[in-house]
Amino acid sequence: MADDRGDMQEPQPDESPAGEQDEGDETGASEYSPELPVLDAEAMSFRQQGGRLQVRLDDEQEWRDASAVRLFPLSESDRWISVVDEEEKEIGLLLELDSLGEEARECVEAELERRYLIPRIVRILSCRQRFDVMEWTVETDRGEVRFLMRDIREKVKRPLPRHVTLEDVEGNRYDIPDVEALDTASRHLLEERV
């Protein structure tokens, strides 16, 4: 399909945290400010309700279906968290999870836990090659799992020097956050195969 880059965009009513209603379009020139929209941990309250993150700001505004997004999911898993509404529009930034109170922190962590499903490989149990398919059995933080890879060359990536990701035939990703932290046998299997 040809993409329709230059398409006209419908102006959307926006809900900025300050609650002002202006008529900017989605690219939001009027909403822009050079300062980062850092959220004041004191003014926020977080709640988990039916598996949903609910956010209140200054007891004035409330988002009943909010979520939390990691801006640097690989290297900074509990810093640089963006809090977004149900349309994935940013409400504001949390620089450090630690700056939140314990309860709020647990709520946000639960939401992160819910959103990020990528398993982390703790140990590689086996790796077999059958034709052009590689069968891996690994232990992850979500339990033991067996997956199949093809096109090893393209499906193994190293986004950071020690961070390796594997993608299986179904599009699932498996992360190894730190290759050096694996046990020798696992590392050996990995080095030999990929």
Binding site: G6, Q9, P11, R52, L117, V133, R142
Partner: protein, 734 residues
């Protein structure tokens, strides 16, 4: 891999309409859960320690708005219950497609509509459970090898004479190869070191001459046959792969666009390039090596057994070890080679990227960083290259040693036979030579077999494409329509690239001949899809599109395409001259026609400024022309094509005001007297259109003239307002 029936031991007590298996538990760990939808209720069933039991049980009437939410590395199915959103199940990417479909169907049910549960796509081989490669149904593990082989041989059939000749030559060559070792026996026993009584010296000398002459003849014959055979094999292999390649390309040209949508262009290209290349490589070299090696092994084994069965057994003893060892050697080497090539390509990527981005690198003064990067990569490559050689040398030395063990065994056991037994020195020498010849092919057998099976898989992938039927088929009773008036009617047209995800939903409208229609809407509203259907790149799912009252599925494809012209958003120019590019749709066009078209498209003026005028050679994808020039060539092409129905997918790239004016003029001339469908991005185009159709999420939101729609202050009014704001800003920026 999955079941569409609820787990055993769970009884919902009513008919199950939908069941989908999830692979994550609510705590995010791997495990099984099922979403079960019955007539009046919905359950989420967990695979507990004991029997499966319902974790959730909800009456359908309380639920609404099911949505498959995409998470990182998977997703979750959510519904609203009494106004609150809640999560039902979580799953990994493996199950995303299934739950996406489930959410769709469930949504329809909850609104009281009918919907069918779509079948799950087959992504695993039903026989062995191996995953199937994208866009193929061929399982590498359970290929019907013999069938593929037979089909490959089918390509040989028209050239059976050289093929038979080749087989004969292989046989003779192998036979001749066994002659020299065999001649060693008389050479030793009769001439050089006879056991027992000796012949006179001059007779021995004569025999020596004869034997050496025979050896010479055998070697000359072998050389001749070998040269002939290599040449013939290369010829045959190239011819066959040429046949396959052309057949494949021809077929690819006639496959519908739907085929390409489901596959990445890269995989299609590799079918033509790599798979046929791999086939040729094997047909040329692999097959003959395989045959000769097999013949050699059989022939030598026969000779050894015939000469001395006991000694032969000692030769066979290390054979399994050689086979086993060489298999592992090849596997190891392959891994290292992979790594080596991977690093090569990474180094190339670095080189490519940094050289093509040199301007940026210099502008930000980042040269040292890239030099460091390159050094690291190059160093890695050097290490890896050494590694390959090291492994290669160690493993091969090991292999040679094992093979040498066999030879040593023969020396010892055979030597004893010569000393104490009836064995002659000649027989021993023949044995020793044959042993060397025996292990050689063994070493390559495992590699060759691997090679053969991969080539067969490549062949199968090629055949699979050849077996794909063109999706848009011409009806057998297709009507020729050499003269289209240009009346177009959309009648309840519904279409989606994937079933259950309609992009156009029940669209109906009529267009009079010569009318210009402007299609307006957001991306994804269905504008491009409308055009794809009109050109019959795809067939509609429901409803009909009629041209001059005839359904387009009944019009001869050739006539249809001949009378529909497209000015696409991205001009595609071939690496040829400007004139050839303009005359693309009408290869026999005269120079007058070409110039007239170029003038109508306001392209003439820039063309005559080029040193080679109309014969200016364009690079790939129109390299050497500005965006505005490319657009005007595309218009000239359409002018020359002179279609009854014109499709104008307006380019969005920005050109300067003067050029813009030129293009607009050209478009006005082009549109004159033709039924035109324009995907418009420019306000001026919208103004000229006789009628505008505003599409929104696959439905017609508004339809009418420009002024009517503006006055109505609806969807179109809003779009125009935004657009005007943006263009004011742009005008100021200029």
């Amino acid at each position: 891999m999955s079941s569409s029936a609820p787990p055993e031991g769970f009884d919902p007590g009513e008919d199950v309409r939908l069941c989908a298996e999830a692979d994550l538990r609510p705590d995010g760990r791997f495990g099984r859960e099922w979403l079960v939808v019955g007539e009046s209720r919905l359950w989420v069933v967990s695979d507990g320690d004991a029997a499966p039991s319902a974790r959730l049980e909800l009456p359908l009437e309380e639920l609404g708005e099911p949505k498959a939410r995409t998470l990182v590395g998977g997703g979750a199915l959510e519904v609203s219950r009494n106004g609150e959103r809640m999560e039902l199940v979580r799953y990994t990417a493996s199950r995303s497609a299934r739950f996406g479909a489930a959410a769709q169907v469930l949504g329809k049910w909850l609104e009281g509509e009918e919907a069918e549960v779509p079948e799950e796509e087959q992504r695993y081989c039903p026989r062995c459970g191996m995953p199937l490669a994208e866009g193929t149904k061929v399982c590498p593990a359970c290929l019907p090898r013999t069938r593929t082989l037979r089909r490959l041989i089918g390509y040989l059939a028209p050239r059976w004479k050289p093929a038979v000749g080749l087989a004969l030559m292989a046989l003779v060559h192998t036979g001749l190869g066994l002659v020299p070792p065999y001649l060693q026996k008389p050479l030793m026993d009769e001439v050089l070191a006879p056991k027992g009584e000796q012949r006179p010296l001059d007779e021995r000398l004569r025999l020596l001459g004869l034997l050496v002459l025979a050896l010479l003849v055998a070697h000359v014959l072998m050389a001749v046959i070998s040269a002939l055979r290599n040449w013939l094999v290369a010829w045959l292999g190239n011819r066959i792969s040429h046949d396959i390649r052309v057949g494949l390309y021809q077929h690819l040209q006639f496959l519908s666009l739907g085929f390409y949508d489901k596959r990445q262009m890269g995989t299609v290209i590799s079918r033509v390039n790599q798979d046929t290349g791999r086939l040729q490589e094997f047909l040329v070299w692999g097959s003959q090596d395989l045959v000769t090696n097999l013949l050699l092994i059989v022939g030598i084994s026969g000779m050894l057994l015939a000469m001395n069965a006991k000694l032969a057994l000692f030769v066979f003893l290390p054979a399994p070890i050689v086979i086993l060892l060489s298999t592992t050697v090849w596997r190891r080497i392959r891994h290292y080679m992979h790594k080596f090539f991977q690093r090569w390509s990474r180094l190339n990527a670095v080189l490519n990227e940094s050289l093509s981005g040199l301007r940026v690198i210099k502008a930000f003064a980042q040269e040292p960083r890239h030099i460091d990067d390159f050094r690291t990569r190059s160093d890695e490559l050097a290490i890896s290259g050494t590694g390959v050689e090291r492994v290669w040398s160690i493993l091969f030395s090991g292999l040679s040693l094992v093979m040498m063990l066999g030879t040593l065994l023969v020396w010892y056991v055979g030597g004893r036979e010569v000393l104490f037994g009836p064995m002659t020195l000649g027989t021993l020498m023949v044995f020793l030579t044959l042993v060397g010849m025996f292990y050689q092919p063994l070493r390559f057998m495992s590699m060759l077999l691997n090679w053969a099976s991969r080539s067969l898989a490549a062949a199968e992938r090629v055949f699979e494409v050849l077996d794909t039927a063109p999706e848009v088929d011409e009806a057998e009773d297709a009507v020729p329509m050499p003269d289209i008036q240009g009346r177009v009617e959309f009648r309840d047209v519904t279409f989606g690239y994937e079933p259950h995800r309609p992009v156009l939903k029940g669209i109906s409208y009529e267009v009079a001949p010569g009318e210009m229609i402007g299609l307006v809407g957001h991306s994804g509203a269905g504008k491009t899809t409308t055009i794809n259907l009109l050109c019959r790149f795809y067939d509609v799912d429901e409803g009909q599109i009629l041209i001059d009252g005839e359904p387009i599925s009944k019009i001869r494809l050739e006539d249809l395409r001949q009378q529909i012209g497209i000015v696409p958003q991205d001009t595609f120019l071939f690496a040829a001259t400007i004139a050839e590019n303009i005359a693309y749709a009408k290869p026999g066009a005269t120079k007058e026609e070409i110039i007239t078209a170029a003038r109508a498209a306001n392209a003439h003026e820039f063309i005559l400024k080029k040193p080679d005028g109309y014969e200016t050679l364009l690079g790939e994808k129109g390299q050497g022309l500005s965006a505005g020039e490319q657009q005007r060539l595309a218009i000239a092409r359409a002018v020359l094509h002179d279609p009854a129905i014109l499709i104008l997918d307006e380019a969005t790239s920005q050109v300067d005001v003067e050029t813009e004016k030129g293009i607009q003029e050209a478009i006005q001339r082009l549109v004159e007297g033709r039924t035109t469908f324009a995907i418009a991005h420019r306000l001026s185009t919208l103004k000229y259109a006789d009628r505008l159709i505003v599409l929104k999420e696959g439905e017609i939101a508004e339809m009418g003239t420009h002024d009517e729609l503006l006055a109505a202050e609806g969807e179109f009014h809003r779009l125009v307002q935004t657009y005007q704001e943006i263009s004011t800003v742009r005008a100021v920026e200029r």
